[in-house]
Amino acid sequence: MATADTVLEHEHDVQQGDQWGGGKEPFKVSYGKLMMWYFLLSDAFTFAGFLIAYGSLRFSSPTWPVPDFVFSTAPFGIHHAPLIFVTIMSFLLIISSVTMVRAVQEGHRENKNGVVFWMLLTILGGIGFLSCQAWEWTNLIATEHMTVSTNPFGTHVVSGEYLDDEHGHAYKDGTQREQFKAGQSYLIHKHFDEKTGHDEWIQRRFLAEDGTTGVQQFGPKAFGALFFFITGFHGFHVFSGVAFLTIIMINAASGLYVARRNGYEMVEKIGLYWHFVDLVWVFVFLVFYLL
């Protein structure tokens, strides 16, 4: 940091040996900011490892649930709206990234109220994203019954037609049977059976084009585990981000950073972290939802 003391030291710094004495910033950036960059680099490798694991397991599976079928519900009873809800979640993160940039800019101008205002909006964006994710998880766990080890989203390998209706009862003669195509995903429903007294999966029977009959099979197990671990790990990053943003906003409001006179550098550091969370979401969005 270019305080008056270090500037004086630099002027005396003529001998070669003193190059190693410290006080120089080869990257012209403070220690804290540089270390934040390196932490983010290491975190990027963690996320990359997870996402590459997703990719290689997806490549290794004969079938994989189609994301626009899995993620096609939204709150308020919206169904068959592929990717709409996650697009809204992406927008929340993008907007909160933009408000974060504004907070950093106001910090450079030493505008305390501006910093607090834009950080508050950023926090609200983060909370909004977490709420959406909570809804998404609740829907997957409670309504669609996906767990880390059970994946009710299967995919048809060959085209054909169902022999049972959606409730698992055989079609009556003469009724129109539901058709399906190869590569189409389905959700195996769970319902409470009053006779046995516990939940039963309804695996519909079908007649395939090649003349064989079969029942709906569960999808690759890894799907549920990967989804909950990777989006959960990202959500945990968002949650920690919100916690740190709140702490730093309170510090900023209390006037702590005014006293430091370094252009609200702490806001800049948490800003780097927050943009990184948005950056990771770009790739989680790509891998889980778009491809």
């Binding site: 990257f27 012209k28 950036v29 960059w37 990719g55 992406s90 927008f91």
Partner: protein, 140 residues
């Protein structure tokens, strides 16, 4: 930032918001196109699916570049800092190629293992299998 006037840098931020929003919408549109939601039957052509995938991946990389260079101000950092953060990520290129290849070969082998499990074992001609006596010297 000191590099731009206050008004110019605010303009730049909202330009960034618009850009990221538009790119995201285009990505979702192309993804749905590749899955056959916009034109029925488009999902039957693997060319459409792969082209859509490549375009979406490139657009995501562009978004990543924009976030790092504009929002995280990498543009204004010293070259050494930028390189020490960005160059190590090049290792991921090989990781992606190698692990996806691994996954693919795993899938092909699943079929091979299934085939082999279905063929009955030929107990008379144990070709390529070592008997216990043959392996004795290995254990010495």
């Amino acid at each position: 930032m000191a590099h731009l006037s206050y008004e110019a840098s605010i303009k730049r931020v909202y330009y960034g918001l618009g850009l990221l929003a538009v790119v995201t919408l285009v990505e979702v549109f192309i993804s749905l196109l590749g899955k056959g939601h916009i034109i029925k039957g488009a999902e039957n052509y693997s060319v459409v699916i792969y082209t859509a995938g490549v375009i979406i991946a490139v657009l995501s990389l562009y978004k990543a570049y924009f976030i790092i260079y504009e929002f995280m101000h990498m543009k204004y950092e010293v070259k050494g800092l930028a390189m020490s953060v960005l160059l190590p990520t090049a290792l991921l290129i090989w990781a992606i190629i190698a692990f996806f290849q691994e996954g693919n070969s795993w899938k092909n082998r699943r079929e091979q293992i299934k085939e082999k499990n279905e063929t009955p074992a030929d107990t008379k001609n144990l070709q390529g299998m070592l008997s216990k006596q043959d392996t004795l010297w290995l254990r010495m």
